[in-house]
């Protein structure tokens, strides 16, 4: 009734593509989060006036389509003769993209810590660093984690765009198979199932944490 030319090795090919998607996502989210925390703390400490240049630059990453950012990143990379592989370029651009969103999340998290709590910590003799480490960090994490999970999922989905630079990730892999086998609907459904399997459990975890950690005190 239903027969397909899709073989086991094609599925392995798709799984490798999914692996590439996960790798790019992991690298960019890791780097983006570190940058995002630094920028977020900077933005919070400097105040709206002094951090205006930083805000503007990060805003650029959120208001320009990622596809254009990737193309620009790749062009800049060749203009400056850096000789980066597409993988490196994609990861760098995606990291900055992630950092731009992560900064907002971090800033919101720090802002959600009551000023009085921080003043209390400081008047107990804690240094700025101790205050940040033992008071702000745990409280801010609690507020920010659900949206950070949302951001991770978003980056995972947006990482599909790196196919434009020639990386063979999940969507590009399925496109190659579509071209070869001419069964677009079936293969795209499998590809969608892959994405869904990766992101649905994490989305559920985010929803659960949001419910579990929502302020009830």
């Amino acid at each position: 009734m239903f027969n397909t030319a899709l073989t086991w090795s094609d599925l392995v090919f798709l799984a490798q593509g999914a692996g590439m998607t996960l790798t790019v996502t992991a690298v960019s989210v890791a780097a983006g989060t570190v940058l995002g925390i630094i920028f977020g703390v900077l933005r919070f400490q400097l105040g709206p006036y002094w951090s205006a240049p930083l805000t503007f630059i990060l805003d650029l990453f959120r208001s320009v389509p990622l596809l254009i950012q990737l193309v620009l990143g790749n062009a800049a990379q060749s203009i400056f003769k850096l000789g980066w592989a597409p993988f490196t370029t994609s990861c760098v651009v995606l990291s900055l993209y992630t950092a731009a969103y992560c900064t907002e999340i971090v800033r919101g998290g720090i802002g959600a810590v009551p000023v009085t709590t921080r003043r209390a910590a400081r008047s107990l003799g804690m240094t700025w660093w101790q205050d940040m480490r033992y008071i702000v960090f745990p409280l801010a994490t609690r507020v920010s984690l659900p949206s950070w999970i949302g951001l991770t999922l978003g980056v995972m989905k947006d990482s599909a765009l790196v196919l434009w630079l020639g990386l063979i990730e999940l969507l590009r892999a399925s496109q190659i198979l579509v071209t070869r086998l001419q069964e677009p609907l079936f293969i795209l459904l499998i590809c969608g199932a892959f994405y869904f399997i990766i992101s649905f459990p994490v989305a559920r975890l985010g929803g659960y944490l949001e419910k579990r950690w929502s302020p009830n005190d």
Binding site: S63, V64, P65, L72, L163, E183, P184, L185
Partner: protein, 221 residues
């Protein structure tokens, strides 16, 4: 440091073409937003209806829209529907893909907004003799749209950014498509795409500011 000569003149000469492209981009974004909004309201109604099948359909739509990449959804509209003998032009495929995505995200926003509207309001509307549909239409929906207005603005900006994905299915009239075509002709990649980035940025800012003004004017009370 680098031996690349920038040729900004070429990019500026192409500016009128790119601005025409920007109009197409804006048009797709607005259309997809209108269609997405209509679908999202329908999905919200399905979820509220208590009907198993309709509710399941709405949930499936929202989950698929939110858990797969927008690019995948556009591919689905462009390549996937071909299996059923439906061959969409890049423009339509892009529109369908983004509208589908918008509907999913907006429906989720509406669900969040509904939580903020007390159940008692619906009940009192019903006891005043309104039908369920009237209660939704005149009591719930205006408040829902108001609460969901800011998230919807964000979605609009996202829709504008998503239109750039059309270039991957062969769209050549929107901003990204025009830029790509100019780029293919002259290989001035950086100049053209930098200009496109500026235009996207300006559009996004104008939309955000217009929405803010509109909200300040409409939601004064």
């Amino acid at each position: 440091m680098f031996s690349y000569t920038f040729h900004w003149n070429q990019a500026f000469k192409a500016l009128p073409q790119m601005l025409d492209g920007a109009l197409v981009t804006l048009q797709i974004a607005i259309l997809s937003m209108v269609i997405g909004m209509a679908c999202a309201i329908a999905l919200t109604l399905f979820r509220l209806s208590g009907n198993r099948v309709l509710g399941g359909f709405a949930t499936a739509w929202v989950e698929v829209a939110r858990n797969t990449p927008a690019l995948f959804q556009i591919y689905m509209a462009h390549f996937g529907l071909g299996n059923f003998g439906i061959h969409l032009s890049p423009y339509t495929a892009l529109l369908v893909g983004i509208a589908f995505n918008n509907a999913g995200y907006l429906a989720e926003n509406f669900r969040g907004a509904l939580k903020a509207i007390p159940e008692t309001q619906t009940r009192s509307a019903r006891s005043l003799g309104m039908t369920p549909m009237q209660a939704f239409r005149y009591i719930v929906m205006p408040q829902m749209l108001r609460i969901a207005f800011l998230p919807a603005t964000n979605q609009m900006v996202w829709a504008i950014l998503m239109t750039s994905l059309g270039v991957t299915v062969g769209m050549n009239t929107d901003l990204a498509g025009v830029t790509q075509e100019l780029n293919a002709r002259s290989f001035r990649t950086f100049e053209f795409f930098a200009l496109a980035a500026v235009i996207y940025y300006v559009i996004a800012k104008i939309v955000t500011m217009a929405a803010r003004l509109f909200a300040a004017r409409m939601f004064r009370y």
